[in-house]
C-alpha cells in the first residue's frame, strides 16, 4: 500500500470520500511517522494522539454515511499559537508552559467544524518572534532539507518553523501557521512548501496568542497551491469576537487554481533587487518572470519606492504593539510567576525575566523605548507615517498591475545557529515579506526551484487587498511551470 502520509490534502480528502482508506488509518500513519521522526525534527511540541484518533473515528462515521465537512477526516498540525481548548498552548514560551486554554481559537474551531483532525501542536519561535525557530523554549526545529554534500542541520525558518518542517517531512497533511512579518512565507520558502498570508481581517485573531495585532494574520502551510486554497477557506470567517474581522464572504479559491493567467499584468518591483542579492535568487526571479510571460501574462516594471524602509518601520511598529500586548503576562492571573521577589514591581519584573526568552525581552525593551515619553513621536508615530507611505506605494501601482512577483526570501535556508550573533542579520530574512504585513495585503510563497546546494527557493506573489483569487491564480501558474517535485532525502 502507498504511504498515505505522502498524499496532498486534496488527494487525501478525495481518498477519504471515496473510502479508499479511513481517517483512522490515515491518522495512525501520521502518528506512527511523528513518533519515529519527531524526536529528531522537533516539529511538534505536543502530540494529541488520543484526541486525533477520537476525531478520526467520528469522521469515519460521518464519511461512511456520505456526510462530513470540507476537511472531514484530514489530519492537520496546529501551530502552538492557536488556543486549543483543553490542550496546552504555549506560543513557544516558558511563560505559557502548562497554560491550558479553556476556549478554542476561531480559526481552529472552524477546522473542527469542517471535520479536521488535530495531530498536535507545532513548535514555533517564542511568541512568533524569530526567523529561524531558534527562540522557541522547546528548542529549534530542524529542516528536513540538507544542502548537497553537507550534513549541517538547517533552520526551517520561522516563526512557523514547526508547521513548515512538519508539512515538508509528511508529519501532517497541512498545517496552520501565522504571519506577522513573514512567518508563514519564509518558512514555506525554506522547506519547499506553499504558504499564504491572506488579507488582514480575513482570518479571525480570536484565540491566537497576540504578537503585533495590526500585523498578525493566520494562514496555512501546505504541499500545494490547491491545498492552500482548501485550508485557507476553512480558516477564514467573519467573527464578532475580533473587532478587525472583515464581514465579507469567503470565496472558494480552489476555483482560481488552474484558471488561465493570460492577459494578467504582473508587476516586477525594481526596489526588491536589493544590494547583495545572490545571483541564484536573481535568476529564480527572472525565471518566474519568464514562466508568467510564457503563460500569457504582461510583465510591467514598477516602482515601490519606500520598500527599503519597511523593515525598520516594522521593527518599531511590531515591538511597540508587542510591548503593549505582552503586558498581560504579569504572573498574576495566568502564566509563569516568580518565587523570589522583594516587592510587587519586582514580582512582575522577575516573572517576566524568567518567563520570556532573550529575543522577546529584546523586542519588548525596544517597544517600551519607542513608546516612552520623548521618543513616541520620533520613533513610533514616524514609523506609522512611513507605514502609510509603504501602503501608498502599493495603492499607486494597482491601476497598472493585477499582482506583483518577488522572491520570497533573500537566501535559501541557513545553518541553525548561523545568524544568532547579530539580531539585524536575522531581521533581514523578512525584507521581501514584511511589506505586505504593513499594508495588509495577501502574499503567497510558492516553491519554484532548487539552489545550487539543492535547497528549495520560493517566489512570492502579492495581490490587492481581498484579491486572494488572483494570488492563487498566479501562484498556481508558477507551480505548474516550476513543476517542483523535489523532496528532501530522508535522514531523520
Amino acid at each position: 500500500m502507498t504511504d498515505l502520509t505522502k498524499l496532498t490534502l486534496k488527494d487525501a480528502l478525495d481518498g477519504l470520500k471515496a473510502k479508499t482508506f479511513s481517517s483512522e488509518e490515515l491518522t495512525k500513519s501520521f502518528l506512527t511517522g511523528i513518533e519515529a521522526s519527531n524526536p529528531t525534527l522537533n516539529a511538534y511540541v505536543e502530540v494529541t494522539a488520543d484526541k486525533a484518533l477520537q476525531q478520526a473515528r467520528a469522521s469515519d462515521v460521518k464519511l461512511a454515511k456520505g456526510e462530513g465537512g470540507a476537511l472531514e477526516g484530514a489530519p492537520l498540525g496546529i501551530k502552538d499559537l492557536f488556543c486549543t481548548e483543553g490542550v496546552q498552548t504555549t506560543a513557544g514560551s516558558n511563560m505559557l508552559r502548562g497554560f491550558v486554554p479553556p476556549y478554542e481559537s476561531t480559526v481552529t474551531a472552524n477546522l473542527w467544524r469542517d471535520g479536521a483532525v488535530m495531530l498536535g501542536k507545532l513548535n514555533m519561535d517564542e511568541f512568533a518572534m524569530g526567523s529561524a525557530n531558534e527562540t522557541s523554549a522547546f528548542g529549534p526545529v530542524k529542516n528536513p532539507w540538507k544542502a548537497k554534500g553537507s550534513d549541517a542541520e538547517l533552520t526551517p525558518g520561522g516563526s512557523s518553523g514547526g508547521s513548515a518542517s512538519a508539512v515538508a517531512s509528511d508529519l501532517c497533511l497541512a498545517a496552520t501557521a501565522s504571519d506577522t512579518g513573514g512567518s508563514i512565507r519564509q518558512p514555506a520558502a525554506f522547506t519547499g512548501t506553499v504558504g499564504i498570508k491572506p488579507t488582514y481581517g480575513r482570518a479571525s485573531r480570536f484565540g491566537m496568542v497576540a504578537f503585533a495585532s495590526s500585523l498578525d494574520q493566520a494562514g496555512p502551510i501546505t504541499k500545494t497551491v490547491t491545498d492552500a486554497a482548501i485550508l485557507l477557506k476553512s480558516m477564514c470567517s467573519f467573527d464578532v469576537k475580533d473587532s478587525t474581522s472583515l464581514d465579507i464572504p469567503t470565496p472558494d479559491w480552489t476555483q482560481s487554481v488552474g484558471q488561465s493567467v493570460k492577459g494578467l499584468r504582473i508587476g516586477v518591483p525594481a526596489e526588491y533587487l536589493i544590494d547583495g542579492m545572490s545571483e541564484e535568487i536573481k535568476a529564480l526571479w527572472q525565471q518566474g518572470v519568464e514562466w508568467l510571460k510564457a503563460a500569457g501574462c504582461e510583465i510591467v516594471e514598477i516602482s515601490l519606492p519606500h520598500t527599503k524602509y519597511a523593515l525598520p518601520a516594522y521593527y518599531i511598529v511590531a515591538p511597540a504593539e508587542a510591548s503593549s500586548n505582552l503586558a498581560r503576562y504579569d504572573g498574576m492571573r495566568f502564566g509563569h510567576r516568580a518565587e523570589d521577589f522583594s516587592s510587587l514591581d519586582d514580582l512582575y519584573a522577575a516573572s517576566r525575566a524568567e518567563g520570556f526568552g532573550k529575543e522577546v525581552q529584546r523586542r519588548l525593551t525596544i517597544g517600551a523605548y519607542v513608546l516612552s515619553a520623548g521618543f513616541y513621536d520620533a520613533y513610533y508615530v514616524k514609523a506609522l507615517k512611513v507605514r502609510r507611505r509603504i501602503t501608498e506605494d502599493f495603492d499607486n501601482v494597482w491601476g497598472k498591475v493585477d499582482a506583483i512577483l518577488t522572491p520570497s526570501t533573500p537566501t535559501a535556508a541557513f545553518k541553525l545557529g548561523d545568524k544568532q550573533i547579530d539580531p539585524l542579520t536575522m531581521y533581514l530574512n523578512d525584507v521581501f515579506t514584511v511589506t505586505t504585513n504593513l499594508a495588509g495585503l495577501p502574499g503567497i510563497s510558492v516553491p519554484a526551484g532548487l539552489s545550487s546546494d539543492g535547497l528549495p527557493l520560493g517566489l512570492q506573489v502579492i495581490g490587492k487587498a481581498l484579491d486572494e483569487a488572483t494570488v492563487f491564480q498566479v501562484a498556481a501558474a508558477l507551480e505548474d511551470s516550476a513543476g517542483f517535485v523535489a523532496k528532501p532525502a530522508k535522514w531523520w
Binding site: 498574576m332 525575566a353 523605548y369 502609510r388 539585524l424
Partner: protein
C-alpha cells in the same frame, strides 16, 4: 539619541523586565545597533502624512451594550498560578 546603561535600566523598568546590572551595557550596545539602523527612517519625507494605525478599510463595528459572556469563574481561574474561593491569590504586596 544613543542609549546608555542608565537608559536601559529605565526602559527595562518600564517593560517590567528584571535586568541584572552586568547586562545593561551589552543591551545598550545591542539596542544602539538596532536603533541606528532604524534611523534611516529619517530619510523619508512624511510631511503631511497621517499615521497609519490600521489597515482595515472598514470602521470599527459597534454592538449593543449588553453582557454576552460570563459566569465562568472556574474557567477564568483554571490557569491561575494560585487561586482560592473563586479569587486569584497573589502574594502579599502591602505591608
Amino acid at each position: 539619541m544613543a542609549i546608555d546603561a542608565a537608559t536601559v535600566r529605565r526602559v527595562a523598568h518600564l517593560a517590567r523586565i528584571k535586568t541584572p546590572e552586568d547586562r545593561l551595557e551589552p543591551l545598550a550596545q545591542e539596542l544602539n545597533g538596532i536603533l541606528n539602523w532604524i534611523e534611516q527612517l529619517n530619510e523619508v519625507d512624511v510631511q503631511g502624512v497621517e499615521p497609519m494605525t490600521s489597515n482595515v478599510a472598514q470602521p470599527l463595528r459597534l454592538r449593543e451594550d449588553v453582557v454576552t459572556d460570563g459566569a465562568k469563574v472556574d474557567a477564568v481561574l483554571s490557569n491561575a498560578p494560585k487561586s482560592a474561593d473563586g479569587f486569584f491569590v497573589v502574594p502579599k504586596v502591602v505591608e
